[in-house]
């Protein structure tokens, strides 16, 4: 059907009728989801740990990390890890016996993106933790709870609910940021699209597809997070 459309009108959605393009695109979309999943997980952990550490003596080090990653371009951070740090690590042999870097493009993309998004999550969780009233923590202390237990049982559940809307925002920023993995040749959806439009010269069609994909992805994610927010709220 879409091939007929191409023959009749020249509108070329090759990702639907062409088997090779379709397979590439499906792999790209799967990789995109994998990338997003890892980054969401790791950046949340970084955010939590960083926010917890900000209350301790490491505050200054966390400040340095936050301000540096916040005020430098994400793409240079990606380049920094992929082109500058990667060559300093030892090489390993892959299954075919060729020399490959110890950490590949995908992993570097996950690391750089998580470090970058983690910065915003630290700020978000910090304001969430600040919003938990002091009396509750004192109550926990008077019950003889240890600091980590207070954090786990009292501070975190309350702070998480408060910071959830801002967290959604950060995650949408992160999803938009994952496109940048393109620059270090991670074959996610933008990279695949680029290859397809180079072969088929169907830039407008691929653009429509890409933009629709991202709008659906971000709005779908926002919808899920709003559901979570409703589920967690007390009412």
């Amino acid at each position: 059907m879409f091939y007929d459309l191409y023959l009749n009108t020249g509108i070329n959605f090759s990702i639907i009728y062409d088997t090779v393009d379709r397979e590439d695109m499906i792999n790209g979309i799967l990789l995109e989801f994998k990338l997003i999943g890892w980054c969401v997980l790791l950046s949340t952990i970084i955010g939590l740990v960083g926010a917890a550490l900000q209350k301790t003596r490491c505050k200054f080090a966390i400040d340095l990390y936050v301000e540096f990653f916040r005020n430098t371009p994400l793409i240079i951070q990606l380049f920094f890890f992929y082109f500058a740090v990667s060559p300093l690590l030892p090489m390993t042999l892959d299954e075919f016996g060729t020399m490959v870097p110890l950490i590949g493009g995908f992993t570097w993309a996950v690391i750089a993106l998580s470090l970058n998004a983690g910065v915003y999550n630290i700020e978000t969780f910090r304001s969430g933790i600040d919003s938990v009233s002091k009396e509750l923590i004192d109550t926990g202390k008077s019950l003889g709870m240890k600091p980590w237990l207070i954090f786990y049982k009292i501070t975190f559940p309350l702070a998480f609910r408060v910071s959830l809307p801002a967290l959604t925002n950060n995650m949408i920023l992160l999803i938009r940021g994952t496109t940048l993995a393109y620059v270090i040749a991670v074959p996610e959806i933008l990279y695949v699209s680029n290859q397809i439009w180079t072969q088929q010269s169907n830039v407008p069609e691929m653009m429509v597809f890409l933009l629709t994909f991202y709008i659906l992805l971000t709005s779908g994610f926002a919808y899920l997070m709003r559901k979570l927010e409703k589920k967690l709220s007390y009412v």
Partner: protein, 246 residues
Amino acid sequence: MYKVFFSVIALVAGVILLSDPIVVPLLIKWTPLLALGFVDNILISVASMSIGILLGVVLGSYQYHKNSVVSGSAIVTTQFFRNAPWIVLLFLCSYLIPYNINGFIISDYVKSILGFSLSMLANVSEITRGVLASIPKSQWDGGFSLGLKKWQVILLIILPQGIKRALPPLMNIYTVLVSSTVLASIVGVHEVLAITSDITAVDDHPAFFLPLYLYVMTWFFIFCYPISCWSKKLELQLTGAQSSIK
């Protein structure tokens, strides 16, 4: 704030000085070229910020138009360009705008500016909407009751209050924009990241790459950090002033 700023610079300087002895002369050799590229980045950011503010304020005001079709399409446009990744918008402009329109040549440079303005326009539109929502309705009514015309109310009453509130988020988004201008290197603009990649091809020492990228990152840090500090300060002043009124 100064402490963080100088500590970061000291750390980077430490890394550069402690690495291979070839690094420092090479960095000094390439600094003028990198500076040229960085100026390009700043120019692109200033140009697209100006276009973004001019069009974004108009689009943002249309989000409050009486006609629901007009306001609806303004909202949809804003959300669409705000949620699309910058790099996709950049590709959109660089591939779909023809290079030559009746002998009028549109270079990659101009196309990248247009691409950035698209996302800036949406962000500014959203900021404008927020600012307009935060100004109490009584300010408009007060202006009208003094017999002022609509444009006079906007110019004399709403704008002076609005600018004050819009400034911190605008400065924030500007720092994000400056950081994002390096994306222009992907669509063929010869700015600082493209130059950095060229340098890594010319002086191919593995030990040189790490200090080089850190060096370029620090330039962005030096440019962006004071702006974001300033915006934080303005924001604090603003919330302080508002709470004192209450």
